[in-house]
Amino acid sequence: MEPSRELNFDALVIGGGIAGLQAALDLADQNFKVAIVEKDATIGGKMIRLSKVFPTLDCASCITTPKMAASAHHENISIFTYCDLTSLKRDGQEIKADITQMPRYVDADKCIGCRQCEYGCPVYVPNHEEGNFNFRKAIYIPFSNAIPQIALMDVENCSLCGKCAKVCPTGAVDYFQQPEDFVIRAKTAVLATGFKLTPMDQKPQYGGGKIQNLISSLDMERLLAPHGPYQRVIRPSDGKEPDSIAYVQCAGSRDKTLGVPYCSRVCCMYAIKQAMLLSGALPLADITIYYMDIRAFGKGYEQFFQNAKAMGIEFVKAKIAKIEQADNQYVRLRYEDQEGNGGVVEREHDLVVMSLGMVPDWNPAGVCDVACDTDAFIKSTIPSLAPTVTSIEGVFAAGVAIGPKDIVDTIAEAGAAAMEASKYLNALENPKAA
């Protein structure tokens, strides 16, 4: 298929998470024209899906939405969502990106985000955005604070009943929409493709993903979010209010056998944060964090950790050896006791959260020949003095795409990537000044 159009920008940002948004804003504020290409149907990345964020305990939405809205409304920023990046290459003086606009089966120009289609659709599908705890429709807007507010259809579950097309006030539903290829040319690019969590079923000794009431940390974020699936914290298997909740730290990180030898940097802090939020939501529940080392190293983080201890959250130094289903849908943890009298200890909890680690969301193989490290994150070629510089001239990287990090460090790094990109643009314009 021939690309339908070719667009030109100063800078191209791949990924619309907090790293991509911050980099785009910092470039746009310096008067460069920026394109953000996001594979998801909304910008905001992981951060918009979190409940509250450490160490300030601001609600994640309250911090992310201003940056999402500022990017969406910035005169120098264009946003392309639901796009598949098929190639990113240097082409002479430029970076050329081949992109496929995936079909939403909804005409983005016509959709007004009124959700009539969603209300009309008779098909219920487990809502992945909410940890499958509740349901969405087969045509839907991703979530209430998504940007853009444009519906998309999940063709795999659509029953082709035609209801949505009938109720849409603008006639935006289009069952025959086709993918559309286009090209973006830019002078520089910032890779901000972020992360996904290590899989739940990775470790056979942790039940291979089959244990009830053993959930991922992102699922817990949704349970804790003010507008989450149940708007309170309950045990998914039976709706019971949990009396005892446990966290398994380094579940998927610091483990060579999993190919994740590194520390994921955020899981200690998010577990402590969730524990604090839980003790607010369920004042009577016992909360235990099983850890190897508590890594509260950022500004204000150690104080946050000490507060959690003072609040009565129990910290047990132990590496969990085995996780099993116990009776009555409890979860049993087995570990070697280090602090008490030694020996193997077993404890059961209502609900257990896996503090999963981070792995890169994007595998550039076959799309872009940017060099990656053995840990699969994008390689920084000047790691100490200019951490955002990659192996391709004029291409920079920021956020978790270039190594696990929290939001504070991600935002600083995004500013740094924008600085590198703006220097690069400046040098192109004024070759002598550089």
Binding site: T65, A69, S144, Y262, Q303, E339, F377, L385, M419, S422
Partner: protein, 633 residues
């Protein structure tokens, strides 16, 4: 602007928008009821509720009402204004209305999160009604444009300062780099190889400093301090004093450098990069600068006398001292030797001067505690441990730690390497730190005893030749600058950013930015990221050649001003002067405000007997209207 005229001449029609905040507000405040109550308030044209006012659909609600002409004033009742006031002002602006015809009511932090039931709904109603009362009095305002010097001043010549200076220069901004010592490179000059890349700190500093020296847009002022700072974003006037070095440490370093015959332009180990000739006479100069980047860095914690035996036993040293000894140690023997003494066993103690806990640790002379983690010492200690084991296989190493925080990419490998090198790890609780005692007899000078939680809290003693304290970071002493520029400082005594996620490299003082460890402990790569982010912000501010400022400044009502001058006397920043003007053919004195200097504090407002001066956007009349609304119900 046409909207300005209409807004001022037309009757106010206020649009009121009340946010559920996804339950945060609506769980405790009956938002429907508040909207119904507000609909009855005179001057309110519409009152809506929405799940998330800050979302696109929420903002569009406002924009539609503006565009259809229903409203010419906006009140949003939602979370704290610090979060979304600018969001809503932006939305209004995009709908072609003046963004200052907006008032915010805080019904989350100050209502739904602290009050419940009917009282919460009643209070929300009052606060929104008061906001409407103010909104009706609002005027359209325009931001103030101030010409800005395309020049930035970077304070501190460590890695972060060098990085920021280079970044700014490469974007065409002139830079003054100010360093109090004769050397560039800061604390990194005291390091050998850095974790985790293994690069030599010397090479990194040499690389950056040489580029800085070669860049014609950067002027380096070593042996210099800021003695006075005036002005405001875009137009700072900074007085700089350069004088011959007088600190003992600097003089010693200079002597060493002279002894080696080193000339400016080269890195000198454990001193830094000698940038330019050391001045022999004092001089002062004034710089015109558009922005200031703080890169004043940190110093290492000095243990108290007797803390882990420090100061009382020569065998107790700090990690930076160990690094220095080891770099000078040329012996190729199989044991580490220090000052000729063979070290058979060494104890490394983590978290000295960091992670202090009220009630457990003793506060310092100023009553302060370093409650934070210093972030870099774990990896640095592990590196030192492995280096000792690998270079000196007969020297045994014990590490006393609380948590091993090798969080960075490539750092965990150092932990593993230390274990493979048979470094012995002992873990202590802050309540039971290792005890260091002097041995009067026997083979070893010191004994370290600890309750080791890795072996069920058993008390373990080890006799050692050397104890090394992994001291943390404390902010550099910049009290003079903090006072002079009125900078916000956090409880941890580091400089305090506006918000760690929304504005992480900015201080509340517009035009003053943060780079590196003056903000919090960080390693070199993190400090470079922060410095580049600060440079990006400074570039955004200065690249246009002007900055836009909030219009909330004092304004004289010439129809009332009688020229009595009380405001001029009251103003603490000299923003008001008396000007001679013609009134009815007569020359009279009238007050005039310099909006770029005015901070909008309002000290003049209270003293004017004629009520002739007000702060735009925060007028007395508006406050009185709010009080009337509050007492009315």
């Amino acid at each position: 602007m046409s909207t300005k005229k209409t807004a001022e001449t037309e009757e106010p029609r206020v649009g009121v928008y009340i946010c559920h905040c996804g339950g945060n507000i609506s769980d405790h405040v009956d938002v429907k009821k508040v909207a119904e109550n507000l609909e009855k308030v005179p001057g309110v044209a519409v009152a809506h509720t929405n799940m998330f006012m800050c979302s696109d659909p929420g903002q569009e609600l406002i924009q539609e009402d503006i565009k259809s002409g229903k409203i010419n004033r906006v009140v949003v009742a939602s979370c704290a204004p610090s979060l979304h006031e600018t969001t809503f002002r932006g939305a209004i602006k995009r709908a072609d209305m003046n963004p200052y015809l907006y008032e915010h009511a805080n019904i989350r932090e100050q209502v739904s999160w602290v009050h419940h039931g009917e009282a919460a709904t009643a209070k929300a109603t009052s606060l929104v009604t008061a906001a409407v009362a103010k909104a009706k009095e609002l005027e359209a305002l325009d931001p103030i444009k101030v010409d800005a010097a395309r020049h930035a001043t970077v304070i501190g010549g460590g890695i972060a300062g060098l990085r920021a200076a280079l970044d700014l220069a490469q974007r065409g901004i002139e830079v003054a780099l100010i360093e109090k010592s004769p050397f560039l490179g800061g604390q990194a000059a005291n390091l050998e190889r850095i974790v985790p890349t293994g690069e030599r700190a010397a090479d990194l500093i040499q690389d950056l400093a040489a580029k800085v020296m070669a860049d014609s847009r950067i002027r380096v002022y070593t042996c210099s301090r800021i003695v006075k700072s005036e002005g405001y974003v875009g137009n700072f006037k900074i007085t700089l004093k350069t004088q011959p070095p007088d600190s003992q440490a600097d003089l010693e370093k200079l002597q060493e450098v002279a002894a080696k015959g080193e000339k400016p332009g080269r890195f000198v180990p454990f001193a830094g990069f000698l940038a330019v000739k050391v001045p022999t006479t004092a001089s002062e100069q004034v710089l015109d600068s558009g922005a200031i980047v703080f890169a004043t860095g940190f110093s290492t914690y000095t243990p108290r006398d007797g803390e882990f035996g420090y100061g009382q036993n020569p065998e107790v040293i700090t990690l930076p001292q160990l690094i220095r000894f080891m770099s000078q140690e040329k012996s190729r023997g199989r044991s580490l030797t220090i000052n000729g003494r063979t070290i058979r066993r060494v104890a490394l103690v983590h978290c000295v001067g960091s992670r202090q806990i009220p009630g457990i640790h003793e506060p310092d002379a100023d009553g302060g505690l370093n409650e934070y983690c210093s972030r870099t010492c774990c990896a640095a200690t592990l590196q030192a441990a492995s280096e000792i084991r690998e270079r000196y296989p007969l020297t045994h190493v014990l590490e006393y730690y609380r948590d091993i925080r090798t969080y960075g990419r490539g750092q965990e490998e150092f932990y593993e390497r230390a274990s493979e090198n048979h470094v012995m790890f002992l873990r202590y609780e802050p309540e039971d730190p290792p005890q260091v005692e002097r041995l009067s007899k026997g083979n070893f000078p010191l004994r370290v005893t600890v309750k080791d939680t890795l072996t069920f809290g058993e008390a373990l003693s080890a006799d050692v030749d050397l104890v090394v304290l992994s001291v943390g970071m404390v902010p550099s002493r910049i009290a003079d600058l903090v006072d002079m520029m009125k900078l916000p400082v956090g409880a941890d005594r580091f400089l305090q950013e506006v918000h760690p996620k929304l504005r992480p490299v900015e201080l509340a003082n517009t035009g003053i930015l943060l780079a590196g460890t003056c903000q919090a402990p960080m390693d070199i790569s993190e400090a470079c990221n922060a410095a580049a982010a600060a440079a990006a912000k400074a570039t955004s501010l200065l690249s246009k050649g002007y900055v836009e400022l909030d219009p909330f400044v004092a304004q004289v009502d010439l129809s009332r001003c009688k020229g009595n001058g009380a405001c001029v006397a009251a103003c603490t920043v000299d923003a008001i002067v008396m000007q001679t003007v013609e009134v009815d053919g007569q020359s009279v004195e009238r007050a005039e405000v310099n909006p770029a200097l005015c901070t909008g504090c309002g000290v003049c407002v209270a003293v004017c007997p004629e009520n002739a001066i007000d702060v735009k956007g925060w007028t007395l009349e508006q406050y009185e209207a709010m009080v009337d609304a509050i007492v009315a119900d």
